[in-house]
């Protein structure tokens, strides 16, 4: 959604051609992101000849400020939806930056790993808006991601297993 999409596209901006094909997973209720992503990919195809990307939609796992108990229910529902998708794609790498959408996908990837089907590297980049505290997705994925990147030194201190590269968006 919105800010997350803008940030993730900036993260992608310097990646080489080797990061292909790209699968963008969006919440079904997200209208703006597809437009932004297409525009990004369009610009990218001017430099890189091989531009393979696809869009996938999954149910939104959680509305802003949704209660804890109902969030668990909707997230579990999203996992049932995203597991078959993740199984089909068997990604080598998952890059995410915080929207609720990413949690079911990462959990699905973890399950694939546990079942010995595919080992996916999970890289989480916390939003630049998070200076002192982590988002809910961040709090969960701090323990389950392979690399957890923060953009402010305060967070690096509080979450020592995180990676601090400075501001990257």
């Amino acid at each position: 959604t919105g800010g997350h999409t803008t940030e993730i596209l900036r993260l992608l901006s310097c990646l080489s051609e080797s990061y292909s094909p790209r699968h963008y997973i969006l919440a079904d209720s997200d209208n703006m992101s597809e437009v932004k992503i297409r525009s990004f990919e369009q610009k990218r195809s001017e430099t890189f000849s091989n531009s393979q990307f696809t869009f996938h939609r999954i149910p939104r796992s959680r509305e802003v400020r949704q209660s804890w108990t109902s969030s668990v229910v909707t997230t579990v529902y999203s996992i049932f939806y995203s597991f078959p998708l993740t199984y089909k794609l068997k990604p080598d790498l998952i890059l995410c930056n915080g929207p609720g959408t990413c949690v079911p996908v990462c959990i699905s990837a973890l399950l694939l790993g546990l079942l010995g089907i595919k080992r996916t590297i999970i890289v989480y980049v916390e939003s630049i808006c998070r200076v002192e505290t982590l988002s809910l997705s961040g709090k969960i994925l701090y323990y389950f991601s392979d690399y957890f990147i923060v953009q402010w030194p305060d967070l690096k201190e509080k979450y020592p297993k995180s990676v601090y590269l400075g501001r990257i968006v």
């Binding site: 919105g2 800010g3 803008t6 900036r10 993260l11 992608l12 901006s13 310097c14 990646l15 080489s16 080797s18 990061y19 080598d92 790498l93 890059l95 590297i121 890289v123 980049v125 939003s127 630049i128 808006c129 998070r130 200076v131 002192e132 505290t133 988002s135 392979d146 690399y147 990147i149 953009q151 402010w152 990676v163 590269l165 400075g166 501001r167 990257i168 968006v169």
Partner: protein
């Protein structure tokens, strides 16, 4: 106007921006190199939105005030005290990721 797809044009022609503390608004403005006054309303906003505004203020990139102090801020402000906001470095992320994935 109520909503526009992009404020980029308006931003470019502005001399001063007064905005709420939304991250997108703050960062877009600072990246255009425009002086920014952030107006915060601690009662309305959820705490995490304030985090970025506070940090930007601490680092000297923006002026901060609330609705009631806006006028006096405008009257007494010294925009030359604002420090330029260096852009983020996605190349560092690319380098890091290449290392993680094994592309060298």
């Amino acid at each position: 106007f109520r909503f526009k797809d992009s404020l980029a044009e308006d931003l470019r022609s502005a001399d001063l921006v007064i905005s709420h503390a939304g991250a997108g608004s703050c960062l877009e403005t600072l990246e255009e190199g425009k002086p920014l006054i952030v107006v915060t309303n601690e009662k309305l906003m959820d705490n995490h939105q304030l985090e970025l505004a506070k940090q930007l203020h601490r680092d000297g990139h923006v002026l901060c005030c609330n609705c009631s102090t806006l006028v006096e801020t405008l009257e007494s402000m010294d925009l030359s005290t604002l420090k330029p906001f260096p852009p983020g470095q996605p190349e560092k992320f690319a380098l890091f990721l290449d290392g993680v994935v094994g592309f060298q």
